[in-house]
Amino acid sequence: MPRRVVASAIAIAALTLSSSSLTHAQAPAETQGRQGRGGQAGGRGRGTAAPAPNGQNENIHVDGWNRKQESLEATGKKPGPAPARDLSGIWEPVPRYRDGVFASGPRDMPSDKAHEATMPYTPQGKQAMDSHKAGFGVNIAPIAEINDPFDTCDPIGFPRIILFNLRAVQIVQTPKQVLMLYQNTRTFRTIWTDRELPKAAEITEPRWFGYSVGKWTDPTTLVVTTTGLDESTWIDNVGRPHSDQLVVEETYHRVDELNIDLTVKITDPVMYTQPWYPLKNFRLGMNSPDFDIREMICSVSQQALFNQLLKNTTDAAPEKK
């Protein structure tokens, strides 16, 4: 390899590593002004109720290279018609990029008392749910008691990758595949569009992200079906359980050039008496093709540090008299 190419590769790698910023961030020149202070110049964020006399930071969405970003529609671009059989692009929840965090459960089935009362658990499903000690939702538990597999950085798995911290996702299409590249845990899925799902007997190895196939049911709607999922994962951040009978159906409807609506259907006769929908027409907006997807890594050593720092907070509170 020519020396210049090697040098370029090293430079790109170094830039990428520094922008990942887990240990040491060097912002691009346009944001240098806020180094040391931490604040941001300009922007469109809303301030808090009581303005600080010496100024305060604002909410300005930035990409992995710390460049200001917003969805293309928010920049004023008018959406054209939806292209046929095409989901490619870099997408984020809209209107707010954090609308897909879903810490307390997915938007259309959060884990509060009212929604839990509507969950169609089978007796086995209810028992499994009750055994899950989560960080949020009806089964919230102190940190020391949480048994969420993702708390030890087990793979987040599917469908939790789309039902918790659904941040930026880049969709890439090839003649036989739709590839989904996720910001959260920096992982990807392969959806095959050239074949049928394997039969149950053919699945000899359950997988964290299962086996997925996609069918275009009309020129702007891709329906993805996934089976063969590892039972050790949770469906969402509040501990909804699943068995190896889980079938997840995702419907990606390209509303127009700049928007996709995502609906997710959960079917698992072992855990649920009927299908339920964690998301119905959840909107994803297209970002600029220049948008760099930030790293969001579950690091085992950082997770251990987190647990170490907070372990003493989990002692029982002293009785108040």
Binding site: S21, L22, T23, H24, A25, R34, G36, R37, G38, G39, Q40, G45, G47, T48, A49, A52, P53, N54, G55, Q56, N57, E58, N59, I60, H61, V62, N66, V101, A103, G135, F136, I140, A141, P142, I143, I146, D148, D151, F164, N165, R167, Q183, N237, R294, E295, M296, I297, C298, Q302, Q303, L305, L309, L310, N312, T313, T314, D315, A316, A317, P318
Partner: protein, 126 residues
């Protein structure tokens, strides 16, 4: 100013609404109280799933309390102007927390940090 700074552990106990935090880790170990401390940064840990600002607070008798101040994930904080370099050891800060450990451990969740020059770094801009 120095004395004022060292006077440390300021106000507390204003019950506030629960904050929406962003990891898979919950807040069952915390109770919702607004607590404000003044102290010196010993470490700024830019880590997942959450970041931490470690702050030493010294009272008038010279006793030092090591506070563990939990902040949001870097992937969220970058949108509020935080970076891995926002704080360094020795910085004088005022930290406002919206929830603290139920058992009295000096740990809490950050709502905002006021820098030495008065500039406010909110962790959530509502």
């Amino acid at each position: 100013m120095k004395r004022l700074f060292q006077a440390s552990l300021l106000l507390s106990v204003l019950v506030v609404g629960s904050t929406s935090l962003l990891a898979h880790h919950g807040n069952a170990s915390y109770e919702n109280k607004e607590v404000t401390i003044k102290g010196k940064v010993t470490q700024w840990l830019w880590t997942n799933p959450h970041s931490f600002l470690m702050v030493d607070v010294t009272d008038e008798n010279g006793k030092v309390v090591h506070w563990i101040c939990e902040n949001n994930a870097p992937s969220t904080l970058v949108n509020f102007g935080f970076t891995a370099k926002t704080f360094k050891a020795g910085d004088e800060v005022t930290v406002v927390m919206s929830a603290v450990a139920k058992n009295g451990t000096p740990a809490g969740r950050i709502t905002r940090v006021i820098l030495a020059d008065g500039y406010v770094m909110n962790s959530e801009v509502r």
